[in-house]
Amino acid sequence: MSTANKPKETSYIEAISQALWEELERDGNVFMLGEDIGYYGGAFKVTEGFLDKFGPERIIEMPIAEEGFIGMAIGAALMGMRPIVEVQYADFISCGWDQIVNVAAKMHYRTRDAVPVVIRGPSGGGLRAGPFHSQSPEGWFAHVPGLKVIVPGTVHDAKGLLKAAIRDDNPVLYFEHKYLYRRIKEVLPEEEYVCHIGAAKVQREGSDLTIVTYGAMVQTALQAAEKAQAGGVSVEVVDLRTVFPIDKDTVLNSVAKTSKAIMLYEDTRTLGIGAEVAAIIAEEGFEHLDGPIIRVSAPDAPVPFSPPLEDFFIPQVDDVIAAIDRLSAY
């Protein structure tokens, strides 16, 4: 096949841009709020060219006032619009915590009004960006009833889940992993597709052991699985995709098959998403287990800056392999 006919590969960040662009085109109620998203095209260039196409009334540049414009997005959503907030780094979502947790998350419960707002931003480490540009905030919000939390780990899901988030009538937090932005590529379906929020996906089938993971750690898990295969261990990789709601069935079905489970997550260890999934397996899949449920995660520390520190902090393929070896002994 000549290069000219080779199907075009899309990067993770391009998939996000495409989802936003297509939803802005599809629905006139969709608009964006965020810092530097207009003329500059966003800190990571997710919205490059958007201002020219959609104009300043739909790509609205905001002053540095995250709590203010997250609250505004909630207000506009309550009036029937479908706003998308870009927080420049997911870390800065903490400035809008009150609005998300107290206003957005509890509104439908009290008044049955839809709050179709999406708050998205680049999360995660690996870019030597230090404690304030590298955090994984999904666990903070997965603990708040009323919110949905998405952390896509593949190019396909980055696009399909963002579209689903924009069409959802609930407040959805969408954390895209900035380490993946330009590092992973995929040939996407030509026809339009939307993923289902709340459905995990088996990204690699295996029979000896299950790794439950999400986000950038999906790639780490797949690499570890490949390495383990060479050593004769068949690893199944379950990608949660949505960290709330958690797709229990897919997790429990996999564990029923393999009898062993590793929780792999980039967030800090204590009370992380993997800790919750471990509890689900312990409670509902106990009879299937042939060994302990092992957590491979970041330690309970802020995300450090210096490369040796950050490499120690973020789970690496070798850390996963060590856990696989440990669990294989059972």
């Binding site: 608009f31 709590e67 203010g68 207000g75 009150d98 609005q99 439908h108």
Partner: protein, 325 residues
Amino acid sequence: MDIKPIEPGAIELLDMYYYMRLGRAIEERLELEYKGGKLPSAIYLGRGQEAIEVGAAYALEQGDVLAPTHRDMISQLPRGLTAKEVFTNHYARANSLTRGKGEANYQGDLKRGLFATVSMLPDFYPVATGAALAFKLRGEKRVAMPLCGEGATSRGDFHESLNIASVLNLPVVFVVINNGFAYSTPPFKEMKLSDVAERAHAYAIPGVVVDGNNIIECYLEVKKAVERARDGGGPTLLEAKTLRMRGHAGHDAAKYVSKELIREWAQKDPIDRFEKHLTNQGLLDEAGIKDMTGRVTQEVAEALKFAEESPYPEGQEAVTDVYRE
């Protein structure tokens, strides 16, 4: 732009009088029930604030939205909130607007342009600003009006809202009910300014101070700001000076407020003043006042009875409606 709103006519004036009286009657009954240990809810009374509560809300048109706080039940009455809805919500009944999920005055109804408040204030300053953004984006001539107390003006989102509404020229009327105390804290411990309205200058928008116990002044000044916003003139910060005549909540005897101050403001009671005004105008007499007492007393009695006889929600309702399906 010099906007001169039309003075309210007799019908409007008597309508406003009714809402003030109804609000006070509801609150007096709530207080009685609370002290008798019959209410499952806390109470947050706006006694003394009736003029700005009713005057501000009355200045809005159908289609506009109001974001009250937990103390602003009375402002919701001109927007159609009924005494029955106030009592069923305080009594945590299944047929209340929040179906037992939100306490006290935390109800709302977007169909009537009423946001359901939260406890963190002024959280609805940004939310109402966002509603105004939606109106502007859709080319609708609608106005958003959030309320808060002087205490909440220390918070960052108050300033973020004023700033963004100014930058985007949004149709918002920010109303601050300066009732003298943020729980127990007086303004001089919270700000160097003597008028909250001065904060408007930092955002290049009009700042207006009104006598919060004079309903006609409240109504006319708010109306001016509402019509300016509707006509594309942008936001206004309006401060109504009044005094909270009860504690922060039902349990609070407010011993930190001097008796002299209460006596001074009791002389300026907004309902007494309005009754005098209406009487001088020949719109009200002793018989009319008595009739109104009878009307609101009966309405409150019926609402209380209705709430007491209404069923509680079933326990398992605790987990419904967390998400929109």
